[in-house]
Symmetry: D2
């Protein structure tokens, strides 16, 4: 965990509006799924929407991860010391959760 | 595609409220992610939430799929004729999309 | 578990040679990866091969699953009784393992 | 692509024997799967083995990726210049292939 204050500006911040837009669209997909269940739509059509939503989420995650590496991890490496190692371990754990989820 | 009328009641309908509740929680997770980006939280913490949300979505998909098979696919098999084959193909395509998404 | 004797011929058997060929190719990919590590190839190139091998394995799994459903699950549904329910639960558990692995 | 010569020793090399051992075990799993198909084992049992093999492969990939980041990516960041950016992009593409495979 991290309170978001101890770090240099996070990598994704320059594209904050883009991420917010994508997450609002994902929120809209979650509402669309509720409507489909409410209206008793066909299971397979609901599953197609779930797959689309999962792909959109993964794409957000991969974007955030790339920006995290090119900012936080690279900055820690350049600063030297044990923090680079720590940042790599932390990013690796996040990647493992993405691959397995 | 399927307009939801040509079928016997879909398998998930008996648990409609449960699915709606889970999807509302997922919608809440999407809003929580927007707040995290808005507040410029740490990337890795955002990624942890994305993984949790992806797992929740997959779990909904696996539940819907199981009910689809135990109702629609089984009913088509019992009715006989080419529809069983068609239902299996359709379910398999949905499974492939889940596995690859 | 299942000793393979209590069932009607399994669905994949008509395409046994095709599956054996694909699995031999996957075995070859595993040997290729050992050669790459032995020769100290670049990590990213090794990871590309791992992804190709994972995709090949998933494709075998999706094929087996589709044939299992169109033979075993459909036959159990047609036979009636509690076995259909059991087969669906068993297939669903296998699908969950694939989605999460 | 990379011919493996232009780099400082790759990160995984210190644990080369460990990776070779794990890959040999994965090769053995591929042979075990062929035996199962040859002996016409039950589909679901074959799928269980495929999931175990996929998990073993992913675990190798995640290990290689972590060592790649803590050696190659960190070294490029410390060297400065455009190569760090390039290494991050390359690692991100590899991660995307893993997440989607």
């Amino acid at each position: 965990m991290d309170d978001g204050t101890a770090h240099a500006p996070h990598g994704y911040i320059s594209r904050k509006d883009d991420y917010l837009k994508r997450l609002r669209r994902i929120e809209g997909q979650a509402r669309g799924l509720q409507r489909m269940v409410e209206d008793e739509k066909y299971c397979i059509d609901i599953l197609t929407q779930v797959s689309a939503m999962t792909s959109a989420l993964q794409s957000v995650a991969l974007g955030l991860l790339e920006e995290h590496m090119s900012h936080c991890v690279v900055a820690a490496a350049q600063a030297g010391g044990p923090e680079a190692e720590e940042k790599v371990r932390e990013a690796s754990a996040a990647i493992a959760r993405l691959v397995r989820s």
